[in-house]
Subunit: 397 residues, 4 copies
C-alpha cells in the first residue's frame, strides 16, 4: 500500500520523508516539490525562522533521472541552521560546554511546559524532564517532510488529471461569509493572498486580526478547506469501518499539529438541516467523455463522499486549527523539575499558521488520495495503472 | 495490537464482531454487552425494525467461563428476522422463485440509488446493478457488531476505572445552549431522555423536531458528544502522524455511517479564539492518590488531547451526523438499469438516529482507547497490565 | 488488502474464518470448500476425533446467491461435538458441577504441559494455570478455518487458471527418493494415496511407519510440498524487506502448527551447489498465447521466486513438520500447580498429520497468493481484475 | 509497533534505515553500529567493492546526546563511491553524455537479466527495460541499512541481557559435522574465522571451496545459524496465525536476498524422527535468580519456540543461502530489448557472502525480537519497559 512516514527533529540535522509502494514510471519535478515547500513557509503571520530556512528537498532514493523506480522514495530536507543547533542537538555527543549565550538559554529553557503543546504529555510518556526531547519531534516543523511527500503524491494525481486546491476560510474572527466558492476561483486567487483567502476584503480583515494578535503577544487559529476535483467514483470502501475513506481523510487532517476539528461537505451544518435539504439528488448525462458523462449531482453537500467512498463530486474537507500554543505572553504553567508555578517557555514566534496549515492539508489529502487511487488501480507501474483506470472508466454502467 | 472488525449484511443471517489481541483474564458480563445493544436500538425516532430485533450477543470464542482467554473474541448477533429474508439473501442459493408480495417488491426494488447513501458509489465500485448487494453491508445495522465489541472494550477500561458517557447536543435545530455540562450530569440524565439529551426542555424540543420531520416524510441529524474520564497521561504518540491519538479518534468517529464532522475539545470554536483564551494553563497538586495528584488544568478546551496524546483531562469528542439518507418522500434519482429519472428506494424508516449514533460513538471510542491503553501497558494478561499501569502511575514525575 | 483471520477454540462452539477485501463477483462453490475440509480431516494416521467431526462450512456473510459481494466473508464451522463439551467450555457460565466421568477427567487434566506444545509458554504468557485455556486455541484444529478460507481464495486463483497441488514427500524415515515429479502426476495421484504420496511403494512404507509409531504410543512428522502453476511474473516485490513474496510464503507456512522448516525451490540443497548449477538460465519463446509465450526457463531450481517476486515458473515450497506433540506414552513434564515431576497430558490421539498439514499448506499458499494477486490486479470486482490482468499480460515486453 | 524499513539504491547516494516506535531512554553506541557494518563487509569471498566502501552510519534523527528520544530513528549510510556513480544514477538529471569508458559500459550493460536475480521479474513488474532500475534496489547492498537498524535493536536487547550470535555451518560442500556447538564457543570463535565458522579445519575447507569457485568464475552459498539466549518465555502468540513468532522469524530470514530455506531448532531433521525423540521434556528448578529459576529443558530440539512463542530456551534458527546470482562466467539469458540469446550481465564480483549474510541474519533477528519484546513490555520508555519486564519475571508461576 502506498503510504508515507517522516523522521527528524525540528532543529535536528534534517527532516526525512519516505514514501512506500509508489508506482514506477512517473516523471517527478523537483521544482514542484520545492514550490510546495515554499508555499508551506509562506503566509502572513509567520515568525523569523521562515526566513532562515528556505526549505529545499533533495531526493535520496527511489528516482533515477527524474523517473520513479517503484522502490522507496526517500527525501531529505536539510536544516540550514544546523550549525547553530549542533551543540544542543547532536545525536551522539553530549551537550557541549562551550555554548554561546543564546544556546545556554535554549539549553536551560526546557522545563516549563507550554499549555496546548505536547510538552507535558510527551515528557511523562517518554520519561524525560528535558522538554526539548519532546518538543523537537512534536513541532509542526515536521510538516515540511509531509509537504515534500505530498508534492510527489500530488504529481501522481495530477498525471490522472486529479486537481487539488486549498484556501483559508477564517482566521480568528475574520471569516468568509460567502458560501459558494468555485474551484477555479480558489485556483486563481488563493495563492495571491498573503493569508490564502480568495476574498481581498476578508484577507485584509485577517491580516488586521493577525497584527492585533501579534501586538498582544497572542496567537490565532482559523479554518481552511481542501478540495479535490475529477476523482473517479468508488475510492475507499464501505466494507469495513477502517476502509472507509472519510475515516482515513479525517485521521490525516486531524493529525496535523494544530487541527481540532474536521468536516466533510456540509459537515456540522448538515446536522441542523432536514434530510431533504442535505442529500444530493442524482442525475444522468448519457454522453461526453468517459470522465464527464454518467451520473452527476447538481449540489454537493456530501462533499464528494457517500458510504465512505468517493461519489464523483468534488471532495471538500475543512479543518479547524486552534491558535498555536507558543505565546509571547506565555500562560501559567508548572516547572517539571521543581514543580513551582512558572511561565511557559517561548520556543518560537509564529502568530498564525493557518495559511501554511492549508498547504499541509493539501499534502495530507494528496497522500490519502494517492493511496486510495493506487489501492484501486494498482501501484506497480504507471502503464498498468493507466490501463486499469481506463478499463474502469469504460466499464459500462 | 488490540483491534476489531465486523462482518455481516443488514438482513443476512447474522452480524459478526471479532476482537484481536484482547488481554486474558478479564471477567466479561454478557448482560453489559446486551445492555449496550439495547441502548443502540433505542431512541425516539427509530422505525419499526427496532421492535423486531432485540439484538442479543452470543460469544463464540475467546472466553471461557466468563473470562477472556487472550485468543480472538468472536461475537455473533443473529438476525431474528432471518426467516423472512432467507429467500432474498441466501448466501448460496439463487433468489427463490416463491416469494411473497413483500419479498417480490424488495427483490425488484433495488435499482434506484438513494442520494446520501453508498448505493451508487458501491454499485459502480463493485460492479453490480442490484443495489442490495451494496446497501446490505453499507447499512448502519452493522454498528450493532461495533457496539458489541465496544462493550467488551469498555469493560476493560472500566476495570481500570476509566469511564465513558455520551449525550446528544442537538437534533435538527433543537440544541443545548448551555456549555458547561458535568460528566456526572450526563451519567445521571442522558439515558433517562428518549433522545439522550440531559436537558428535559431541550429533549422535548428535539422530540417535537422529530415528530415534525416524520410527518413530512423527512429525516434529521444532530450532534452527539462522547466523554472519557480518568485516562492516564500519554496514550497515543506525537512520534509519527499516524500514531497521534486524535487522528485515530477522528477516523473512528468519521467511520460511523452518518457522521460528517468530528471535533475534539473546543474544536471549530477554538479556531475563532485567541491562543490565550484557548490553551489550558497548568497547575500542580503535590498530594493525593496516584491518579489524582500531579499536573492538572482548571479548564479543558483541549478536550483531553495535546500533541496527539492524552493529557490527563477528560477526553471530549463531538460528531455531527447528517440526517439519514432514506426518505419516505424520496429524492430524485436515476435508475441504474435504464438510466431514467426515478424516485429513490425507501429501504427503512428511521427518522433520526442520533441518540443511537451516540451509543455507537461510545463503542468506537472504547475500542480506540482500549487499543491505545493496551498498546502502552501490554495486552497479554490483566495481571501484567495492572503491574505496568501501576508502575507507570508511580514513576515519579 | 486481501487477508484473513480466524477465531475459535478447538472444543468451542465453532471456528470462524473471516476474509477481508475479497473481490466482488466471484461465484463460490460451497461444495469445493467442504471438499477441502474433508481432505483436511483425512489421511492415514488420524485419531478418532476426525470421525466425529465431518466439518461443514456455513457462509455467514459476504456472499449472496453464491456470488461474492466485496464485503467481509465470514465462515462458521460448527463443532459437532459441542453438546459434550459445553459444560467444560461454556464461554460464559462456570464449569458445571454436573460433569460425567470423562468430563471430570478432562476438567482436572490440565496442569501437566506437553513438551512440544504451546501449553507452558501460553500459560506463562497469559497467566493461567489451567492449560486448557491455552491449548484450546493453540490446537491445530484451528486450521479447519484456515482451510475454509483458503478454499475460497483458491477459487479466485482457479478463476484465473492458477492451479495448486500438494503432496507428501516423507513421513518419518519413509521418503520419496525420486526428484522429478510433474505437477500433473501430483494432481492425479496424491489424493488417491491415504498418505497423499504419489508413489504407491513409498505410500506403503509411510503407512508402515505410522503403524509402528502408533503401536509404540509415538508420533511422526514429515515433509510436504505445495506447488502453484501458471502464475504471472511479478507478484511480490523486491522494494522492501517485508514486501518480498518469499518472506510472506515462509511466514504462512511456518505459522502452521507443527512446521519447523520451510524451503523454496532447491532450498537447503542449493546451499551446497555452485551458482552455475543453481540458477536457471533464461530462454524466450516469441509466439503462443499471452500466458505461454515470452521468457521461460528449462530448469526450476529457484522454485518460481527470484528477487522476492514470482518469475513465471511453478512456485514450489516445502515444509518440514515435526511429529505431533501429544504422545500416548507421554514425556516427562512438571505440574504447573505443585511443580512436581509428572507425565504430560494426552489430549488427543493423531499419530501423524502430515497429509492433512499439506492440505493446510495449500490453504495458506492460496491465501498468500490471492493476496499478492489482488494486490497487483485490484480487489474490487472480478471484471476490473480481469481487465487489469489482461492488460498486464498483453503489455509488450 | 517497533518496526523498520529501508530506502536507497545500491549505487545511489545513500542508504537510509528508519526505525519506528523505538523506546526512549536507551544510550546508543554509534561504534557498535559501525562495528556491525564492518562485520557485514567482511568475510573471505567478498569482491573489490567492500574495500571501497567502509560503511559508516550517521544518525539523522531519533537520538540526542546519544540517547533515544522515542521519535523515529533515521540512519544514513552514504555511498563513498557516489561521485563515480552520480552521472549514471542521478535521481533527477538524465544520464550525462559525458561518461567515461567504464560508465559507458555500465550504462549500456543493463539489458541481459541475470538468472537467479530480480532482474527479469522486476523489469516486467515495473515496466522497464533498463535492468539497472531494478537491480539497484534488489541488490543485497540494501542489507547495510538492515544491519545498522539491527545494531540499534540489538543494543536494546543487550540492555536486557539478551545476547545474539551467528556462525556459518556450511559453504558449498564444506560443512560442520559436529552437532553440539555451545553459545559461548560461537561468541569466542566465529568472528576469528574469515568465514565465521567456529572450527578452524572446516574454515580452511570453506576457504578452499571459495578459492576453487573463484577460479572457475563460479559462486557458492551455504548455511548460517543465528542464536539468541536469555529470552523470556512468552514472546509471540499462538492466538492468530500471523502473531506466531516463528512465522515472523521465518519471514525475516527468508527476506534476506539469497536465502531459500529457513529452519528452527532441529527443523527438517525433526521431520524424520519420532515424537519421543523430538520434544523436549520439562523440568523445574525452584531457586535461583528470576531469570534462571523455574521451568527448563535439558534438550533444545525445538530451538526455543513452541506454539509460536518463545519457551525460554535458546532461540536457534538456520538459513540456507543459494550461491549469489552474478557469475563471472555468466549463464545463458535473453536480451530484454532484442530478445536474442545472450550472456547475463556481470554486475559485481563476490564469490560467497554467507559469512556476511549471517551478520544480516543477526540484524533481522534483532529487529524481530526487539519488536516482540517491546510488544509485550511496552515501547515508550526504558524505565517503563524495565518495570513491566521485572514484574513479569517476578509474577509467581
Amino acid at each position: 500500500m502506498l503510504r508515507f512516514l517522516t523522521a527528524g527533529e525540528s532543529h535536528g540535522q534534517a527532516l526525512i520523508g519516505q514514501i512506500e509502494s509508489f508506482p514506477a514510471g512517473l516523471k517527478i519535478s523537483i521544482d514542484k516539490i520545492n514550490r510546495q515547500l515554499t508555499r508551506r513557509q509562506g503566509g502572513f503571520g509567520r515568525g523569523g525562522r521562515m526566513k532562515i530556512e528556505h526549505d529545499r528537498a533533495r531526493i535520496l532514493s527511489g528516482l533515477r533521472q527524474g523517473i520513479t523506480l517503484g522502490s522507496p522514495i526517500a527525501i531529505i530536507i536539510e536544516n540550514r541552521d544546523w550549525s547553530n543547533w549542533k551543540k544542543l542537538m547532536d545525536p551522539i555527543r553530549p551537550v557541549s560546554s562551550r555554548l554561546n549565550a543564546r544556546q545556554k538559554r535554549l539549553a536551560n529553557d526546557t522545563t516549563r511546559p507550554r499549555p496546548g503543546h505536547a510538552d507535558l504529555s510527551g515528557a511523562v510518556k517518554y520519561d524525560t524532564r528535558d522538554l526539548r526531547n519532546v518538543l523537537e519531534r512534536a513541532s509542526a516543523r515536521e510538516t515540511a517532510a509531509r509537504v515534500a511527500c505530498g508534492a510527489i503524491a500530488g504529481q501522481l494525481l495530477e498525471y490522472f488529471d486529479i486537481r487539488m486546491v486549498s484556501h483559508v476560510l477564517s482566521i480568528g474572527r475574520a471569516r468568509m461569509k460567502r458560501k459558494k466558492i468555485a474551484f477555479d476561483e480558489i485556483v486563481s486567487k488563493a495563492d495571491r493572498s498573503e493569508v490564502r483567502c480568495v476574498d481581498p476584503a476578508v484577507s485584509a480583515e485577517m491580516k488586521a486580526e493577525i497584527k492585533a494578535a501579534r501586538k498582544n503577544g497572542d496567537t490565532l487559529g482559523g479554518v481552511f478547506e481542501v478540495r479535490i476535483s475529477n476523482l473517479p467514483i468508488g475510492l475507499g470502501s464501505m466494507a469495513q469501518w477502517f476502509t472507509r475513506l472519510d475515516g482515513a481523510l479525517a485521521a490525516a487532517m486531524m493529525s496535523i499539529q494544530s487541527v481540532k476539528g474536521v468536516e466533510i461537505g456540509d459537515g456540522f451544518a448538515s446536522a441542523a438541516k432536514k434530510g431533504s435539504a442535505v442529500h444530493d439528488a442524482l442525475y444522468y448525462k448519457p454522453s461526453g467523455s468517459v470522465r464527464s458523462r454518467g451520473f452527476y449531482r447538481r449540489t454537493n453537500r456530501a462533499g464528494g463522499i457517500e458510504g465512505g467512498m468517493t461519489n464523483g463530486s468534488e471532495l471538500i474537507i475543512r479543518a479547524a486549527c486552534k491558535p498555536i500554543a507558543t505565546l509571547m505572553k506565555p500562560l501559567e504553567t508548572v516547572d517539571v523539575i521543581n514543580k513551582s508555578a512558572a511561565r511557559a517557555i517561548t520556543e518560537r514566534s509564529d502568530v498564525c499558521v493557518v495559511p501554511a496549515a492549508a498547504v499541509v492539508g493539501e499534502a495530507m489529502m494528496a497522500m490519502v488520495m494517492a493511496s486510495a487511487f493506487t489501492d484501486k488501480f494498482g501501484n506497480d507501474s504507471l502503464a498498468d495503472i493507466e490501463a486499469a483506470f481506463e478499463a474502469y472508466l469504460k466499464r459500462e454502467f
